[in-house]
Amino acid sequence: MSVARALPVFSIAFAVIYVASVQYNLAVVTYHPQLAAWGLLVEAPRQGPAMYWYGWLITSAVGAGAIAALSLALPAHAVERASAVLVWLVPIVMIGVIAYIIRGYFLR
């Protein structure tokens, strides 16, 4: 059983969790650039803006890693066949979802 076959599952899960993290602000860390200070989980801006992007990336990587590990318990052939399509379809759809979420920038 090759562990590498979980990599496409990681990529699929990463895209979905990332978009959910953006939409529901599921950052595990917050960065305050004005203070050059980090905070755990989601913190309100202290002085200047708060940055959640790093936290969204960590949330997505950890979540996708867990799902990819779990996928190793599933039948390899079925996962391989589903991944071959979902690995590009899901990121494309998620980019569309993100564009929709931030559409306000382009409609003002």
């Binding site: 990599l7 990529s11 895209a15 990332y18 969204w56």
Partner: protein, 154 residues
């Protein structure tokens, strides 16, 4: 320091753009035989040799972008908001998200290029490669336009 990192970020992005575009062309429009012409050479590059370099370049470029990102939030984004340049601001927001999705796509990209002769993976490999190329092109052009709006080093 930020200006220096921005230059390195730009150079890495140009290198990444070239390598990924080259690979995408070679999988979309492969040459049957090399004739020696520029177009033929472009199409007949051994794509697998690019894969690891592209992964390292993508990660390195994103890491540099992430390093100078706070400077953007403090000094560039506020300027865009002051001048009500909502579309460029949104374009950069979209850039951060598509680059993040691109980062997440790298493990799958490596996986599908691990066996470049596997025909059953050819379609997936092609689409993933082209998708990554589109992401990098979008990121590059958006960064370039934003940099022009703000003015280099200002």
């Amino acid at each position: 320091m930020t200006t220096f990192l921005l230059i390195i970020h730009s150079l890495a992005a140009v290198t990444l753009l070239g390598a990924l575009t080259h690979q995408a062309i070679s999988v979309l429009w492969p040459a049957r035989q090399r004739t020696g012409s520029f177009v033929s050479s472009l199409r007949s590059v051994p794509s697998m040799t690019y894969t690891n370099a592209i992964i390292v370049l993508f990660a390195f470029t994103a890491l540099l972008g992430g390093t100078i990102y706070p400077e953007y939030r403090l000094n560039v984004r506020t300027m865009l908001q002051d001048f009500r340049l909502h579309a460029p601001e949104g374009a950069f927001e979209l850039k951060e998200h598509v680059v993040a999705i691109g980062l997440g796509l790298l493990p799958a990209y490596w996986y599908y290029w691990k066996q470049p002769t596997a025909k059953e993976r050819a379609t997936t490999r092609t689409i993933v490669t082209v998708l990554l190329a589109v992401i990098v092109w979008y990121g590059f052009l958006t960064g370039h336009v934003l940099n022009n709006i703000r003015g280099f080093g200002s």
